[in-house]
């Protein structure tokens, strides 16, 4: 029997998911879809990915070298080390959070694994991320950083941030289905994070007692590691990378767990 539905009252619910397909190909298709839709009707297209961090870098550099005098000659590169991870974090988390509700027609109509929707939303921002990372590297070289062996750490560091954001997106995307205010909470957190991530200040000025705490914030940890690698030319402190990895993977695990709990009733709520 290809299809059998039985529903005698009181019988325990049972159903096996029946989607046979190519997950990676689907993921790629969804990422490219997001990306194409976003750029199809724009005249500046990908240039926006460069413009936004450049403007932020210019403004912050002006304020923190001209308004507040600052001896740091590398300040533009220094501040860009903060802006790029922060940008990816806010945009990735934001689009990920609203992804399930935004793609309601997809989620309600096609029996694919639903985890793929927030993950594709986060990953579709990776194309900007790559462009911005290239910008960051070029800037680093312009402002006196040098290519060194420790640059090999970079792929791992970025991978951990992406995993972290995917985890967060899974958590908030499923909560957002039930409580639509979630996306506004996420937006508010993002605003607060701009100040709590050491974007325009360094780790040296953070009170000693709080440094430990800061390092558990993966975005802050990534900023710290980037500055070590790109500006000081040293390896990132291993304990910090471990903490970053720990938080990233626990967030992903928690996200997978919460999403799994929540997804069965998505249909009734969107």
């Amino acid at each position: 029997m290809p299809l059998r539905i039985t529903n005698s009252t009181g019988e325990q619910p049972q159903a096996k998911r029946a989607w046979h397909g190519d997950l990676l190909f689907l993921l790629e298709s969804l990422i490219m879809k997001d990306f194409r839709i976003r750029y199809r009707n724009m005249s500046l297209g990908l240039l926006w990915s460069l413009l936004n961090p450049l403007i932020m870098m210019g403004v912050l550099t002006f304020v923190f070298t001209k308004v507040f005098p600052n001896p740091n000659k590398q300040f533009p590169a220094f501040v860009l080390c903060g802006i790029v991870p922060f940008n990816f974090f806010t945009i990735g988390w934001g689009t990920g959070t609203s992804s399930i509700v935004d793609n309601a027609s997809l989620v309600k109509r096609i029996p694919m694994p639903r985890e793929i929707v927030p993950i594709a939303a986060v990953l579709s921002n990776c194309i900007h991320l790559v462009i911005q990372i290239i910008l960051l590297l070029v800037c680093t070289l312009l402002f006196g950083g040098t290519l060194n062996i420790h640059w090999l750490w970079l792929p791992l560091l970025w991978l951990l941030e992406i995993i972290f954001v995917c985890g967060l997106a899974l958590i908030t995307a499923s909560i957002n289905v039930y409580i639509r205010d979630t996306r506004y909470v996420v937006e508010s957190i993002n605003t607060v994070m701009f100040w709590l991530v050491p974007i325009f200040y360094g780790f040296e000025v953070i009170p000693r007692s709080l440094v430990e705490f800061y390092q558990f914030n993966p975005v802050a940890a990534l900023v710290l590691c980037l500055r070590n690698v790109l500006l000081q030319g040293t390896a990132p402190p291993v304990p910090t990378v471990m903490k970053l990895g720990f938080v990233a993977f626990s967030t992903l695990a928690l996200g997978a767990f919460i999403f799994r709990k929540g997804k069965d009733a998505f249909y009734e709520h969107i």
Binding site: M1, P2, L3, R4, I5, T6, N7, S8, T9, G10, E11, Q12, P13, Q14, A15, K16, R17, A18, W19, H20, G21, D22, F25, L26, S29, L30, K33, R36, I37, R40, N41, S105, L106, K108, R109, I110, P111, M112, I179, D264, Y267, E268
Partner: protein, 230 residues
């Protein structure tokens, strides 16, 4: 209401009576069989199809599916107006479970079946609803599912295309696939299906050979004569 009460309510399940969209509905569709589902609006037809596609899970009972499902539940679910026909076809096919190689192999036959000419490279927002339906239908049948689920979508096609779809659906039946069909177009149902169930307020009012069920249904309905399409 106090903010405290509101917060408290957020975490408390609502206590109104549970509504069941379907009760005591059991059936199976074997290879080569084609089942029609009829009933008034709100009778539970769509819930039934959603269960069959596993978009929602039953709160009681079981759903067993042997094979892949392609559902035409809504015109081009997941289609996006800014993407071209070809791009939408590829994404839709990936969503329905095709691999990259299968998509590339079948793209030509999908485009050929839809038969919408040069529009295939235009953004979907320029399409008429009939063209969208053509595209959606030709993806779904070319995915070659083991179970095809059709929810009232043939209504917007022109006669020629509907004829082509009927042919394709018949081909499916002869190839031993199962078909589940919801429509208010009783005439097309009687051509496509050999069995029917009539749902009324979530319960099976009648089931059996297509002619008998449809006759009983149309006699009971206020509309006296069966109408084609909707």
């Amino acid at each position: 209401m106090l903010i405290r009460d509101r917060l408290w309510n957020l975490f408390r399940p609502e206590r109104h009576e549970r509504f069941f969209a379907l009760r005591d509905v059991s059936f199976s569709v074997g290879p080569g069989e084609s089942l029609a589902v009829v009933g008034q609006n709100g009778a539970g037809k769509s819930t039934l199809l959603n269960l069959a596609t596993q978009l929602c899970l039953p709160s009681e009972g079981t759903v067993r599916i042997n094979g892949s499902v392609a559902a035409l539940l809504e015109l081009g679910a997941g289609f996006h107006g800014d993407l071209t026909g070809t791009e939408n076809v590829k994404i839709n096919a990936a969503l329905l479970g095709l691999t990259r190689r299968e998509v590339n192999q079948r793209l030509d036959s999908i485009v050929e079946f839809a038969d919408i000419g040069d529009f295939i490279d235009e953004p979907l927002r320029t399409y008429s609803s009939g063209m969208r339906m053509r595209l959606a239908f030709s993806v779904a049948v070319n995915v070659d599912p083991d179970i095809l689920i059709i929810d009232e979508v043939l209504g917007v096609g022109d006669q020629e295309f509907v004829g082509k779809c009927f042919e394709k659906i018949m081909e499916f039946r002869h190839a031993g696939k199962a078909i589940l069909c919801v429509s208010h177009g009783l005439e097309s149902l009687s051509i496509l299906c050999d069995r029917a169930i009539w749902l009324d307020h979530g319960r099976v009012k009648r089931s059996g050979p297509i002619r008998q069920v449809l006759q009983a249904y149309s006699e009971a309905s206020i509309a006296p004569a069966p109408t084609t399409a909707y």
